[in-house]
């Protein structure tokens, strides 16, 4: 059935029924969209893969659970404050943040405490033995007679001993190549700081003994907190639950965590903290995208409306066109909600695309309708004639564009397939809405009188002045276009690809900022490789192999917490036993604090520290620890001054409290040391449950986490990292592996899409023209426009990325449409060398609406969306430029009637108007 008859018998015959049905369908679509449509991040959208990798990922998920884990990063120079912040935050998150299911700020390593010596290297154990032997007297005497006075007296004696030993017998140790034990002033500084602080007032006790026994307790990892290697970052893991009902599923937990961080930061000024990890990255991206796409949609609608109003010099008819378009957009969203159920960062183009391209159909139909009304036809007749004249052209353009988009269905990436399905069918739905809604609207409410045979100036047949040059000097245009194309072809080789999905996110996005901070300043990332092993031995072997590779910064597994070489270390532990034999494990009460005695001892210590004058006069080759000596001096002087200012009794009372804590703690530490010396080997049962849950799967497999030395998000370093992972285990998985595969598949997919679209569209055009010459001419805007776009990419410093590669099918629409319509008109004009201005107007207007539609995405903070907007605008602009310059020049040269400008004014033939409308 001809389109005219179909429309006449349906929508024009029953305008009210059609409109009410369309409205109901629109309301239903909005309801379904609100209820069902969700938004997923780029990562989630790209994640699903097939084949061996997908199978391995599934096995991993089965074994270790598919948990969404946010990572809270705490940055502070003060480790104790960072730990307190982490503990307080964990408490708050557990108590009051909905959607946070589990918080892990530290592993409970209590069961491993007595084994801590086994975590030292054999050499460290030997060193420890030496140190304990050397300080044996101090340990023995302090354990027998604990107290502040005794402690400082023993330190003073150690310093004197070192002094005399170095001066008179130091050469004996040096000639043996032995290390002389230095007087390490760091513990003394800590003690003096605490002494001073407690003199000023009571405070929370912090153990100084770890500083004294640096070699045996320097690694704070054993308190179970999750530190970066350099202890600059402390991590808290929060397992969060997405809200399936919500459009942004991680909104509640992530916003809740951020709120608690901000609240706590007021109590801990100076501490920096933020959230990253998959849920936070997703939330930030989706949140920005939602905000951006809403704004972009409004801007594109307003922009397109203004454009149409200006060109058509009226409000009512363009408004009707917009109403039809909006209904079509709503249907498309409703359809997406029912079929796919979600949008992602790629399908964020849906609304601007439907508005930009879908509006063309209304424009063409309205233009032809106005033309027919101008011929004096009634509204109904004008509509029927418009469908007869412009309908097939519009239908053809829509079908060809949809075919180009449907080629995405042929790729292996589900996100691209979804995109192709949603956009292709969405365009067809806007076509349906234009055909179904616009005619009844015009029929019922178009009150504008018909203007008979008056041709508006914009539709006059002369092209604009600057375009006349194209027709007058076609060879010049051809030469310049050829030059531009050659330059752009060179640029095509220079256009790069940026596969880093973090760079698609908005500038300054919190989760991205923290992720980049972690990567830059630590050996970790939230994105890591995963290798599974069947036995602990296999874990160790793979860990060793991985650690030798240049791209790998850190390997984590259950073996990390199982001490190595236990058989070798246990005998070394036994050797420590006799050294501790004289140390009393009985808790002896400390003697009362003697302030005068303490002052005397401290003065004797101070006497051994270089004064500033002595430091100035120092002219020896060796450099003493001047800074530490200065600090010791200063602290003792400050303590002396404090004592002079405060009531001695009050000070004695405060220091007695401090002494009590210190002595109690000392006994604890000594007892721990004694227990550790007597402990046996660490076995798997000793490891905490939380830790085992992290590294041992339900199926008994062991997880090895592998971190990349370089950023795991950058394509080059990601590829090298994945290659190294696969060298150790071809079945390696994890985010970088998945990302690497997705990028490769995406690139392949887009290449396929490009080929399919070109071939598919070419076949359709060829079928349409059935003439090779016309076919080739019609392809010029698309092919040359694409090359020019590459040149502009270099000028605008735009790289391809995972988001803007979508331009490949998208640029086909204006490319095909422009070529098709211009060449059609050219043929219809019997190959006249000069085309009327109206054809340029139609092409320009439809390209501009597309550019406005996509250009609206340039307001997006999301850099991926912005780059789509910019690139499609550049692409459509290039196609338009080719359509208005190179193509007319080619047509002029190829014309059978190249007789110069055809002077044609006044009333036009019916045929001319028909093709104007279809443009």
């Amino acid at each position: 059935m001809r389109l005219r008859k179909l429309i006449a018998r349906t929508v024009l015959a029953h305008p009210w029924i059609t409109l009410i049905s369309a409205l109901l369908l629109t309301l239903l679509s909005v309801y379904v969209t609100v209820q069902r449509l969700s938004f997923t991040s780029t990562r989630s959208a790209l994640a699903p893969l097939k084949g061996r990798l997908a199978q391995l990922q599934e096995e991993y998920r089965q074994a270790f659970g598919d948990r969404d884990r946010a990572i809270i990063v705490i940055q502070s120079d003060d480790q104790d404050r960072a730990k307190r912040f982490a503990a307080a935050l964990a408490r708050r998150l557990r108590a009051q943040v909905p959607g946070v299911e589990e918080v892990l700020e530290r592993f409970d390593l209590k069961a491993l405490e007595d084994h801590f010596l086994l975590y030292l290297s054999p050499q460290e154990l030997v060193d420890l033995k030496g140190k304990l032997q050397e300080h044996r007297a101090l340990l023995e005497e302090l354990s027998a007679e604990p107290g502040l006075n005794r402690l400082f007296h023993l330190i003073q004696r150690e310093i004197s001993k070192a002094l005399v030993g170095h001066l008179f017998t130091g050469f004996l140790e040096e000639s043996d190549g032995e290390e002389q034990r230095p007087v390490d002033l760091a513990p003394l500084v800590v003690l003096l700081e605490q002494l001073k602080a407690w003199t000023e007032g009571p405070r929370v006790y912090a153990s100084p003994w770890s500083r004294f026994f640096t070699d045996i307790d320097e690694n704070d990892d054993r308190d179970g907190y999750l530190w970066s290697e350099d202890k600059r970052f402390l991590f808290v893991l929060a397992t969060v639950k997405g809200d399936a009902e919500s459009f942004i599923r991680f909104q509640r937990p992530i916003e809740g965590i951020r709120k608690e961080i901000r609240t706590l930061q007021q109590q801990y000024p100076g501490i920096k903290a933020g959230v990253t990890g998959d849920p936070a990255l997703e939330y930030d991206e989706v949140n920005a995208a939602q905000r951006d796409s809403g704004l972009a949609t409004v801007i594109s609608l307003v922009g397109v409306a203004l454009l149409v109003v200006v060109v058509f010099r009226g409000i009512l008819r363009p408004l009707m066109g917009l109403i039809a378009l909006i209904m079509g957009v709503c249907w498309a969203f409703g359809f997406a909600a029912i079929t796919v159920g979600h949008l992602n960062m790629l399908s964020v183009v849906l609304a601007p695309m439907l508005i930009g391209i879908g509006m063309d159909y209304g424009i063409h139909l309205l233009a032809r309708y106005e033309e027919e009304r101008g011929q004096g036809y009634s509204i109904r007749e004008a509509l029927e004639r418009a469908f007869e004249g412009a309908g097939p052209g519009i239908l053809q353009a829509a079908v060809i564009t949809s075919v180009a988009l449907f080629t995405l269905l042929l790729t292996k990436i589900s996100a691209l397939r979804e995109l192709g399905f949603i956009t292709g069918s969405g365009l067809l739905l806007t076509l349906v809405s234009t055909f179904a809604v616009l005619p009844p609207l015009l029929l019922l409410w178009d009150r504008r009188k018909a203007v008979v045979a008056v041709v508006p100036p914009s539709l006059s047949l002369r092209p604009p002045a600057f375009l006349e040059a194209c027709y007058r000097r076609p060879r010049t245009v051809l030469a310049l276009s050829g030059l531009a194309t050659v330059v752009a072809l060179y640029a095509l080789t220079e256009v790069g690809f940026d596969g880093n999905v973090l760079r698609l996110q908005a500038e300054g996005t919190e989760s991205v900022t923290w992720e980049l901070k972690i990567i830059k300043n630590s050996e970790r990332s939230t994105s890591y490789g995963v290798i599974l092993a069947r036995t602990l031995e296999e874990v160790r072997e793979k860990t060793l192999a991985l650690e030798s590779l240049p791209t790998i910064s850190k390997v984590e597994s259950i073996a990390t917490v199982m001490p190595e070489d236990q058989e070798r270390k246990l005998p070394l532990l036994r050797e420590l036993k006799p050294v501790l034999e004289g140390v009393s494990l009985e808790v002896a009460p400390p003697a009362p604090v003697d302030l005068e005695g303490l002052l005397d001892t401290l003065s004797r210590i101070k006497a051994k520290m270089l004064t500033p004058e002595e430091i100035e006069k120092w002219d020896r080759k060796d450099t003493p620890p001047l800074e530490m000596m200065g600090r010791v001096r200063r602290l003792i002087e400050e303590f002396q001054m404090l004592l002079a200012r405060h009531d001695p009794e009050e000070v004695r009372r405060r220091l007695s409290t401090y002494q009590g804590e210190l002595v109690h703690d000392f006994h604890d530490k000594v007892a721990l040391l004694a227990r550790a010396v007597a402990s046996g080997p660490v076995v798997m049962e000793d490891l905490p449950r939380d830790l085992k849950k992290q590294f041992i799967g339900r199926d008994g497999s062991y997880l090895v986490r592998v971190f990349s030395r370089q950023s795991p998000w950058e394509v080059a370093s990601q590829a090298a990292f994945v290659a190294d992972l696969r060298r150790v285990d071809p079945d390696a998985i994890g985010d970088p592996v998945e990302g690497h595969e997705v990028i490769a598949t995406m690139k392949r997919g887009y290449q396929q899409v490009g080929i399919y679209a070109l071939v598919g569209v070419a076949i359709l055009i060829l079928l349409n023209f059935r003439d090779l010459r016309y076919f080739l001419l019609a392809k010029v805007p698309l092919l040359v426009g694409a090359v020019w776009t590459a040149g502009l990419m270099l000028v605008f410093r735009v790289k391809f990325n995972l988001a803007n590669l979508i331009i490949i099918p998208l640029i086909v629409a204006p490319g095909v449409e422009n070529g098709l319509l211009i060449v059609h008109r050219y043929r219809e004009e019997a190959e006249s060398a000069v085309l009327p201005r109206s054809i340029g107007k139609g092409v320009t207007l439809s390209s501009l609406t597309t550019m406005v539609g996509f250009g609206s995405l340039m307001v997006a903070h999301h850099r991926g969306a912005f780059s789509i907007g910019l690139l499609v605008t550049l692409g459509v602009g290039s196609v338009l430029a080719v359509s208005l310059t190179l193509l007319p020049a080619l047509l002029t040269l190829a014309a059978k009637r190249p007789s110069g400008m055809k002077e044609k004014t006044g009333a036009r033939s019916e045929g001319e108007f028909r093709h104007d409308a279809s443009s």
């Binding site: 003073q156 004696r157 310093i159 004197s160 001993k161 070192a162 002094l163 005399v164 030993g165 170095h166 001066l167 008179f168 017998t169 130091g170 050469f171 004996l172 140790e173 040096e174 000639s175 043996d176 290390e179 002389q180 034990r181 230095p182 007087v183 390490d184 002033l185 005397d600 003065s603 004797r604 101070k606 006497a607 051994k608 520290m609 270089l610 004064t611 002595e614 120092w618 020896r620 060796d622 450099t623 003493p624 620890p625 001047l626 530490m628 000596m629």
Partner: protein, 217 residues
């Protein structure tokens, strides 16, 4: 690297203490014979170190030589060597003992001289007490820096040929002879007497020292 840092640290602490060991002006206390003896020796050494005619780098060797001479005269290095070897002394032959005294004396006097020459500063010494028990005596002193930071130094003396000779100095509870004894004993036990002597000779050579006999009795 670590080892070097540790050595440096230790030397630094050492240097601070060294400055306290000798004084120019002794406070006047009620002194007995042994205190007089100590005070006299300290005054003599101090006079050399503070002598303007012996100041400057050019005079350093001469200054050192004169101080060394005084120390050799004041300290009984044979007694110190004997006490430092403790039980091992009796196991050595006459010749070994003689050689050992030479070696020990040279090294001790060198260390002590360097300490005196390099670090004699403007300090006060307070003579706290003396205790005489037959042929041995202890003179307790307190060295005060310009800021009155104290270092307690005890001189152990014994009567030899009618005069009081020093055989030990105890700095803040740490005896120099005791320190020697601990270290020598450790090396003899873990290695051998010969190893000890070898190390001492190496040190002697590296310092460019001759035998201890020169300038001594």
């Amino acid at each position: 690297m670590m080892r070097r840092a540790r050595l440096v640290a230790r030397k630094g602490v050492m240097a601070g203490g060294i400055a306290l060991l000798w004084v120019a002006f002794a406070a006047s206390v009620q002194a007995g014979e042994t205190t007089d003896r100590v005070k006299g020796e300290l005054d003599r050494v101090s006079a050399v170190v503070k002598d303007p005619a012996l100041r400057g780098a050019a005079k350093e060797e001469e200054r050192k030589a004169r101080v060394k001479e005084m120390i050799f005269q004041w300290f009984d290095v044979e007694e110190m060597a004997r006490r430092s070897l403790a039980g091992h002394w009796t196991k050595r032959s006459e010749q070994e003992r003689h050689d050992f005294v030479d070696l020990f004396g040279g090294l001790f006097v060198e260390s002590y001289t360097r300490l005196v020459v390099d670090h004699l500063a403007d300090q006060r010494v307070v003579y706290l007490s003396e205790a005489v028990d037959g042929q041995v005596a202890t003179v307790k002193t307190k060295f005060l820096s310009k800021r009155d930071d104290p270092t307690f130094v005890d001189f152990a003396l014994f009567r030899r040929d009618g005069t009081w000779a020093a055989y030990d100095v105890v700095i803040d509870d740490i005896s120099i002879v005791g320190n020697y004894r601990t270290q020598f004993n450790k090396i003899i036990h873990t290695q051998s007497y010969e190893s000890l002597v070898k190390k001492m000779r190496l040190k002697q050579e590296s310092e460019g020292l001759g035998t201890a006999g020169k300038g001594s009795r």
